[in-house]
């Protein structure tokens, strides 16, 4: 190869072999990317060169470079400090919440018990309806409800209390009282409530007892038929 350089290389070279090389290279087909791809490529290139959001943020917060590490470290320390502070009051917050819930629960309980003893039948009825939701978890409310169910002077309040006892019929003491009350009551409305309680929530044994009372004619006639119909027995 000649040492002589020409200013318009590669074209116009005086070396024949070099020219032949260039000619050969010129005969090789080169595929051209589509114009769409080219545009997309340049767009991507432009996008890549733009700073990302995180980069902008880092720049804004001074997290770039060594100063950024300092900033990050400071943030971590701040965070730990804030967490400690929150933990002291927030650990109290959880206790406070629990105490508040307990207070509300006690207030609710006191209100229910107070209503169950009220002179006004409407208030006692309201107390009975509220007690239905908590009687399963509160023995004192269940007892008060049972007292309304057996002793209230207003039959509707007694019937509502009987309805409210619901699953409590499974408790031996309550179940026994309920079953005894069925024939002792002189009110058809109260007896209806007792019967429905047994039909809906009673044990098999209690249902059998009820059926026997109905078959022996110890219930009000309409209610005997109600029992037999509900138990899919033939009504005489």
């Amino acid at each position: 190869m000649s040492d002589k350089k020409s200013s318009d290389l590669p074209l116009g070279s005086e070396d024949a072999a070099e020219n032949e090389l260039w000619d050969t290279l010129g005969s090789i087909e080169s595929t051209e990317p589509s114009t769409a791809l080219r545009q997309g490529f340049y767009q991507k290139l432009e996008q890549a060169s733009r700073p990302t959001l995180m980069e902008k943020l880092r720049a804004l917060l001074g997290f770039s470079g060594n100063a950024g590490w300092l900033t990050a470290t400071a943030c971590v320390l701040l965070g730990i400090g804030a967490g400690q502070l929150l933990d002291e009051s927030g650990g109290n917050g959880t206790d406070r919440l629990a105490a508040l819930e307990q207070n509300v629960s006690m207030l609710n309980r006191t209100l229910i018990l107070d209503r169950l003893e009220n002179d006004s039948a409407g208030k006692r009825l309201r107390g009975v309806m509220d007690a239905a939701f908590v009687a399963g978890d509160d023995a004192e409310i269940a007892r008060a409800l049972l007292q309304r169910a057996t002793e209230d002077r207003v039959h509707s309040v007694r019937a509502a209390a009987i309805d409210a006892l619901g699953p409590q019929i499974g408790t031996p003491a309550i179940g026994k009282t309920i079953m005894e009350s069925i024939v002792q009551t002189d009110s058809p409305l109260v007896q209806l409530a007792l019967i429905d309680l047994v039909l809906r929530n009673g044990s098999q044994q209690q249902v059998d007892q009820l059926l026997k009372l109905a078959e022996d004619g110890l219930l009000f006639p309409d209610l005997s038929r109600h029992v037999l119909t509900s138990l899919k027995r033939d009504v005489a």
Binding site: A121, K123, R126, V157, A159
Partner: protein, 268 residues
């Protein structure tokens, strides 16, 4: 019949008519209140009575009482005759705005119309061949009629109403949030009037009747029917559950229970 006999018979008829008219004339009593302007408590308990209580803007209580002829009979040589005249005793007592009206336990049918201050808690009770009607009261009502209907209109407060064999029809203008209401019967229908836009939570329980509502209701999820089969001895139970229905988002509790009757909640 000769003239003398005719005149005697006519005179007797006039006498009997006069006696009858006297027995049926209402007695009116105005009862002053110990604390005029304050709410009252009224209790009326009569074996067989049509009792109507109307709330008005007034500061005393007025009672109009009519007693039908009694069932007393006398055996005479000419046969058994009915004794004219009531043969009854009825007492009204007022003590510190608490008024009670009751009658000795004879079988005369009584009609009582009471006009009282609108703010009144009321307890009314009758057993046979009676009717209870209440209107325009603000307070807590207890209404008991064993064999007859109970009707109440324009009530603001709470109502506990019980009948065995007849219909209970109560219309509220508003409900007391602190009290619950209950309508219960064995063989009658239950009708509840609720103002448009007022919310209640209704507990509906009827074994053999239908339930109708003019309102759209949200039903609390619960099993509609309790159905149990015991394959060992073949015992089957099929009974409807209590339906808990919220009207207009819910509110004070109204319990409605009937064995054979329908339940109807209407928009007033």
């Amino acid at each position: 019949m000769n003239r003398f006999t005719f005149c005697a018979a006519l005179a007797l008829v006039i006498l009997i008519g006069a006696a009858t008219a006297l027995a049926q004339q209402p007695q009116v009593i105005n009862v002053p209140l110990s604390r005029p302007g304050d709410p009252i408590y009224l209790e009326i308990s009569i074996m067989s009575a049509r009792i109507e209580v109307i709330g008005e803007d007034r500061e005393d209580a007025m009672f109009e009482v009519t007693v039908s002829d009694g069932q007393r009979k006398i055996v005479t040589p000419s046969g058994t005759q009915s004794l004219k005249g009531g043969g009854y005793s009825l007492e009204v007592e007022e003590d510190d705005n608490e008024i009670s009206l009751d009658m000795d336990w004879r079988v005369n049918k009584v009609v009582v119309l009471a006009r009282v201050p609108r703010h009144a808690d009321v307890e009314l009770s009758t057993v046979d061949d009676g009717e209870i009607i209440v209107s325009n009261l603000i307070g807590n009502l207890e209404l008991y009629n064993t064999n007859g209907p109970i009707t109440a209109r324009n009530i603001s407060g709470s109502v506990i109403a019980e009948s065995i064999n007849d219909t209970i029809d109560i219309s509220f203008t508003s409900f007391d949030a602190d009290n619950a209401s209950s309508l219960e019967t064995m063989n009658g229908d239950l009708l509840l009037g609720v103002p448009d836009g007022v919310g209640i939570r209704a507990y509906l329980d009827t074994a053999n009747g239908e339930i109708y509502s003019d309102f759209e209701v949200e039903i609390d999820p619960s099993e509609r029917i309790v159905e149990r089969e015991d394959s060992e001895d073949g015992t089957s139970i099929y009974i409807e559950s209590v339906i808990i229905a919220k009207i207009n988002g819910g509110g004070p509790v109204v319990r409605m229970k009937s064995l054979h009757g329908d339940i109807n909640i209407r928009k007033d």
